[in-house]
Amino acid sequence: MSRRTPLAVAVVGALLVGGATTGTTHALWRDQATMSGSGVASGSMSHAVTIDGPSSLGTLSPVPGESPKILDATVLDTSPQAKNLRQAITFAGVDLVDPTPGLSLSQLTMSVGMKTADGCSAPAPSAADGDLTTSLGTTSPGGSLGVCVKIAALTGSPDSTGVLRLEFDGAQVRPDGQQGGWASAASTTVPLTVVGVSSPPAPNGLGCVSWVKGVSATITWTSVPGVTYALVNNGQVKIANITSSMLPLTVRPSEVGGNNVDLKVRATNPAGVSTDSSSTFNIQFQAPKCSAS
């Protein structure tokens, strides 16, 4: 070992010690804790509509006084379970798909309500092309609403067919009732058939039976059972609800609007459809004279 060896060892040792106390080689305390990963998932909102029972309305008869057809449907909340999800269901309206000529929404009357223990809460049908939007109620996932629709055809509607599409909207509401958020839509269809009622035959065979000057005239025409008749003077009905059994009919000036009148005969069938005669009675009570032409 040379004389310089101890000196070199000392220098190296001093540098190593110095390095341990300066710069980034400090060994300071440190501790760490872990927060586990976490997450949430969102749900979804939807609903479906099914027709209860027969999937057809049957035949609508455009006859006055005819009871409307009632269609029962169920709106099912098909949303998966979600803690704070509620859905307000609204009847959004109707549409007519593939109607045959002559059929339009304006010829239908409808109303919407809820199924009840004893029937349907819907009011009397109103025009379908009006505002039919109806709030039906609120559901939770898996819940349902029983809905009913009253449908009728306006008097005089022709024979026709089509498919009625009933549309329902869903709008999210919070459990406290506050609205806003998701929306959903669903619809269902039902075939529609309208069987129109034919017009009654125009009254014919008009004839004068007898007349008494200044007092009366007795007239008749060919009648059809089930059809009611009226005498019309210048567009105004003077004598109504004349049946076959009342013919021949004796009329007086005060009943028909004067001493010199022209009267048409109007036939009306049970559906309320009317047809006027092409011929006219001309009665001149003071002449006296009665003719039909």
Partner: protein
């Protein structure tokens, strides 16, 4: 007795006499006690605490269960995951930091927000909303609170944001000495 024997006896006697004379010296002495002493090291520690899930939209407590398949968020929901972390920092010359390293976030339509707070005034946030803290003195004990907030705004309309997930991966909270 010959001369040799007599000489040996006399020598031995002399040695004994010399040895017996040692204990009889009277020399000065003194002593003092040094009291026992010690130092104790400080502590720097962080430990994860309980986790609570709350459905803020219903003002409930612990009323959200992430393991319940029926607990899916819908527009208007605000869900929080709150976890506390107990921290200790003792030692006269202790200075250091508490830093939050968030895991990767997946949010889709659901917003994810993380907020870290300290209940100890000595442990202060380095910048508002940074979720990083520092202390320049020992603070004894404190609680760090990490709140992860998941929000699906009620303005989310149509069919937006349905059947999606939002998450934050494993994250770490580190307390480290700087001096």
């Amino acid at each position: 007795m010959n001369k040799m024997i007599k000489g040996s006896v006399a020598g031995a006697t002399g040695i004994v006499l010399l040895m017996g004379g040692f204990g009889t010296y009277a020399l000065w002495s003194d002593s003092a006690d040094m009291e026992a002493s010690k130092v104790t090291s400080g502590e720097l520690d962080i430990a994860a605490g309980d986790v609570h899930w709350n459905d803020l939209s219903t003002q409930g407590t612990d009323d959200w269960d992430p393991n319940n398949s029926n607990h899916l968020v819908v527009p208007g929901d605000t869900i929080t995951r709150t976890q506390t972390f107990a921290v200790k920092g003792t030692g006269k010359n202790l200075e250091g930091t508490v830093t939050f390293a968030p895991g990767a976030e997946t949010n889709n339509a659901i917003g994810v927000d993380v907020d870290v707070t300290s209940d100890n005034a000595e442990v202060t946030e380095t910048a508002a909303g940074s979720n990083n803290f520092a202390f320049d003195a020992p603070f004894s004990t404190g609680t760090m609170k990490v709140v992860v907030t998941y929000t699906l705004p009620q303005s989310t309309d149509g069919q937006v944001g349905q059947n999606v997930t939002a998450s934050i991966a494993e994250s770490t909270l580190t307390i480290a000495q700087t001096r």
